[in-house]
């Protein structure tokens, strides 16, 4: 839907891009090998420019093995390729501990992490201590990362969180709107979640400890089945994610309960890398990543998740479509 406001923004951005082009063309016509543009981090409007210097640097972009993560990994990988780097991807690393090890050991250059996960899983914060503000959360996480020789880039616009979900029928039957409403009822209900859910404070461990809930049973299942088990009636409750495409596409079937005690902190995505790699890769590394994630608001991420999880596109295809549509990579 193009409103007048949008049209103005489009016009301004086009003018900015035009000015930039003219500026760049004027500046360096022959082999000017220094990077053009500023060294400041922060996104710039316009397509990603390939810098021949970056060709000397090899990067391996990793991600955890979950669709949303793989899409992000692909977006970063494709963007960095467009910026001239030699990029490999390793998009099936497992959980955050595996990914962390991979970064620290140099197996990968970096990967996207949720700030909330970093704070609770790596740095031992309690869920309620996780700052609600994205920048604060990032700063806190970065502080801790820097102590370990790592570095986290600034956060994405969107955030994702775990959520307790159920079918609309079950929610109606037991009058469930918030997680606390499960008190007294949860003993009759079965909960299905990922295998690591039992260990996580932003999952079953938190539900038991901080909400004081006891469930009839907990069954570990592959994340990919989290909606199937609800639909088939096997699960009364299932751990879902706030960015799930099914929540908007099938909102008549599924609903999530409000996290009134704030046990499931929302996390914006921050790109975690080592200080060494960041230095060696030059300013375009951080610049490209921050630039390309600017367009990732909640609606866009849900659309990307929908393409991969519902329409079964590959993360590579979804990432490419996003980069093209948002103008980062020209066609």
């Amino acid at each position: 839907m193009r409103t007048d406001k949008t049209r103005v923004r489009v016009l301004l951005a086009a003018l900015a891009a035009l000015a930039l082009t003219l500026g760049v063309a004027a500046c360096g016509s022959s082999d000017d090998s220094t990077t053009s543009g500023s060294t400041e981090s922060g996104g710039e409007a316009g397509a990603i420019q390939s810098n021949p210097d970056n060709g000397k640097v090899s990067l391996t972009i990793g991600s955890k093995n979950f669709p949303e993560q793989e899409i992000l990994g692909e977006i970063y990988a494709q963007a960095l390729t467009a910026a001239g780097y030699k990029v490999k991807s390793a998009l099936n690393l497992g959980s955050e501990t595996v990914a962390q090890k991979a970064v620290k050991s140099g197996q990968i250059s970096g990967y996207p992490e949720y700030a909330s996960t970093a704070l609770t899983s790596f740095f031992g914060l309690e869920p309620e201590e996780v700052p609600a503000d994205a920048t604060e959360a990032w700063e806190k996480a970065n502080e801790e990362f820097e102590k370990e020789g790592l570095q986290a880039f600034e956060p994405t616009p969107f955030a994702s969180a775990n959520a307790v979900g159920t079918t609309t029928e079950t929610a109606e039957k037991y009058d469930l709107k918030t997680v606390s409403d499960l008190e007294g009822v949860s003993e009759k209900l079965s909960l299905y979640g990922s295998p690591e859910c039992r260990q996580r404070i932003d999952c079953l461990a938190g539900l038991e400890k901080l909400y004081g809930l006891k469930f009839k049973s907990f069954t570990p299942v592959d994340i990919g089945l989290r909606y199937t088990v609800l639909e088939k009636g096997q699960a009364d409750l299932s751990i879902l994610f706030t960015t799930d495409p099914q929540l908007s596409a099938e909102s008549d079937k599924f609903v999530i309960l409000e996290d009134d005690k704030k046990v499931f902190p929302a996390g914006n995505v921050i790109f975690v890398t080592t200080q060494k790699v960041a230095e060696e890769a030059g300013p375009d590394y951080e610049k490209t990543i921050l630039q390309v994630q600017e367009g990732l608001d909640l609606k866009v991420v849900q659309e990307l998740d929908a393409r991969v999880e519902l329409e079964k596109e590959t993360p590579k295809q979804a990432a490419a479509a996003y980069l093209e549509s948002a103008g980062y990579i020209g066609s």
Partner: protein, 237 residues
């Protein structure tokens, strides 16, 4: 770094995982590993293996013996045996999880399907190889067809039949290892969900699964030797 020392270090860590509980890789919850959990998962794997094997035997053995007795259906059974070998267990588990459901019953079904081809084809072949003269003699003695199968053909072909059962068991135990993908927590959980259990846990899982499979096969081999009457004991492969 000596390449030979690293494996030994890993195995040490894995042994420790089996015997003592560790803090999980993913922080915040219960401890993982330890003897209790290892035993729990082993029992689960035995349970689903036994159930699947029983189901496969109930279905495949009578049919295989009967067809062998009658001498019918060779082409179909040959095809079945070959198809069975070509069936990837991962696909079976994935399909059962997505189409039928997760849990003990669907998984048992999938495992039984994998166990049927070797049992049925070995039963057929075993019975076919029984000397026709012996069968005729039994018939001449007035035995009913069923009695012939039970008292003559089965005992004489027991070695081949057991061979089929052993093949089926290998396939079932192997697939039971990836049953955690369909909601049945067997020893394979240590391997598949290594993100919780860590590298040590994963190696521990591999060791335990290998030992379990060898133990089961060893028992079945003993059983095969016991059941094969002395007169038939040939150097079997």
């Amino acid at each position: 770094m000596s390449a030979t020392l690293i494996p030994f270090a890993s195995f040490g860590g894995a042994i420790e995982f089996i015997f003592s509980e560790q803090t999980s890789n993913v922080t915040g919850g219960q401890k993982v590993g330890g003897l209790e959990q290892a035993i729990e998962l082993t029992l689960k794997q035995l349970e689903v293996t036994a159930l699947a094997l029983a189901l496969a035997l109930i279905v495949a053995l009578p049919i295989g013996l009967y067809l062998g007795h009658k001498g019918r259906g060779e082409v179909v059974l040959v095809g079945l045996a070959n198809a069975g070998r070509a069936l990837p267990e991962l696909a079976m588990i994935a399909l059962v999880a997505a189409l039928i459901g997760i849990g003990l019953l669907p998984v048992t079904l999938a495992l039984a399907v994998l166990g049927i081809p070797p049992i049925i084809s070995n039963a057929y072949v075993g019975v076919r190889q029984v000397d026709r003269a012996t069968v005729d003699a039994a018939r001449g003695m007035g035995m009913s067809e069923l009695e012939i199968i039970r008292k003559v053909e089965l005992p004489l072909s027991i070695s081949t039949v057991m061979g089929g059962i052993r093949s089926a068991t290998i396939a079932i135990v192997a697939t039971a290892t990836i049953a955690p993908l369909a909601g049945v927590e067997t020893l394979g959980d240590f391997i598949i969900n290594a993100s919780i259990y860590g590298d040590d846990g994963r190696l521990a899982g591999a060791i335990l699964v290998a030992l379990l499979a060898l133990a089961i096969e060893g028992l079945l081999a003993l059983l095969q030797r016991r059941l094969t009457s002395d007169g038939l004991k040939v150097k079997t492969a």
